[in-house]
């Protein structure tokens, strides 16, 4: 019984190490700690598509955090650190992709689509408003309009039939 409980306690020790994904860094300057969090949050883990290196437990993210710490301590700027990582892992690691000729679609397509959507909504609302305007007409106005439409159809008929014969040839 005592043996069993000792083994159980030993297993508990194992569980303590399994969740030790948090590393301790001794920053020489307090501003580095802030930048470590900020830059780490903007770098994407190469192994896990939807996590920053600050969030990920993967060994590659761990290595990148170690390098990030080293570069910060060396006094590198944020841009230098981003460049360093891109040199090795490609643009993929940046959560903020650079603005270049081959990425403009990525940057401008979403606002362009929103603009197109707004334009479409504007025209739809306007056309609906104009169709509703018949509801406000008086009886005589409506009759006048119906007559106009009937006349228009009469005039349009011959042209319609002539175009039909053209097609049949």
């Amino acid at each position: 019984m005592a043996k069993k409980s000792i083994i159980f306690l030993l297993f508990l020790l194992l569980s303590a190490t399994s969740q030790a994904a948090i590393e301790l860094y001794d920053f020489s300057d307090d501003s580095y700690r802030l930048r470590y969090k900020e830059v780490g949050g903007q770098l994407r883990c190469p192994k896990c598509e939807n996590q920053s290196i600050a969030d990920s437990n993967s060994p590659s993210a761990y290595d990148m955090r170690q390098e990030l710490y080293r570069l910060l301590e060396e006094g590198k700027t944020d841009q230098q650190i981003f460049d360093f990582m891109v040199q090795r892992f490609g643009d993929y690691v940046l959560y903020n992709p650079p603005m270049r000729s081959d990425t403009w679609l990525l940057w401008y397509l979403p606002p362009a689509l929103v603009f197109l959507g707004l334009l479409l909504a504007f025209f739809l609302v306007r056309s609906r408003k104009s169709s509703h305007s018949t509801a406000k007409m008086s009886l005589s106005e409506r009759q006048l309009r119906i007559q106009k439409i009937l006349e228009l159809e009469k005039n349009a008929d011959p042209t319609l039939s002539s175009s039909n014969t053209k097609e049949s040839k």
């Binding site: 060994p59 590659s60 170690q66 390098e67 090795r88 892992f89 056309s127």
Partner: protein
């Protein structure tokens, strides 16, 4: 204008359909290494068989070779080992990079599966000497380095028989001719 508006949903549907259809055959984890066209980084690493002997970049450059990153902890490495042996038998020089591994386990791996490597460099866990600078983020990964020491091809993932026959061997021959 009204007629056109009627067709707008169909056009949008077709456009989205084209993109989604293309996405079906795309592998999100496949992306070109940033090292393509770049020189192999400088390094200094011990050999697995002789830890006292340090190997540097200059020792490797001179002929076209493959650099295979592996570890006994990596299940996919077992899967591709047969193909590495096959390429080595076909005369392709393959340098191994034993990555985040322990020497004892690495030796056991090789004695079980055979050693196709011309030499094996060791980069233990915590060291960021070569693999990190190559942008390695897992294992297995394979690089093709030409006779000038430039990285010409990279694969992150398992080497399959089709990849060997259709991609890797043609690439090796292409760069061997190019010298």
């Amino acid at each position: 204008m009204k007629r056109f508006l009627l067709f707008l949903p169909l056009i949008v549907f077709l456009l989205v359909g084209i993109f989604l259809y293309k996405g079906l055959s795309m592998d999100p984890s496949a992306r070109e290494s940033a090292l393509i066209g770049q020189p192999l980084p400088e390094f200094s690493l011990p050999r697995l068989t002789n830890p006292n002997l340090l190997v540097t970049r200059e020792d490797l450059i001179g002929e076209v070779f493959l650099l295979n990153v592996w570890g006994s902890w990596c299940p996919s490495c077992y899967d591709e080992h047969e193909e590495i042996v096959r390429m080595a038998q076909a005369g392709v020089p393959i340098v191994g990079l034993n990555y985040k591994d322990e020497p004892a386990k690495a030796f056991r791996y090789l004695s079980q599966l055979g050693n196709p490597y011309t030499q094996i460099l060791v980069e233990e866990d915590g060291l960021r000497e070569l693999a990190f600078n190559l942008g390695v983020y897992g294992a297995p990964e394979t690089f093709l380095i030409d006779s000038e020491g430039i990285v010409r091809y990279h694969l992150a993932g398992v080497i399959t028989p089709q990849l060997v026959d259709q991609v890797i061997m043609p690439e090796v021959q292409k760069w061997q001719k190019n010298r």
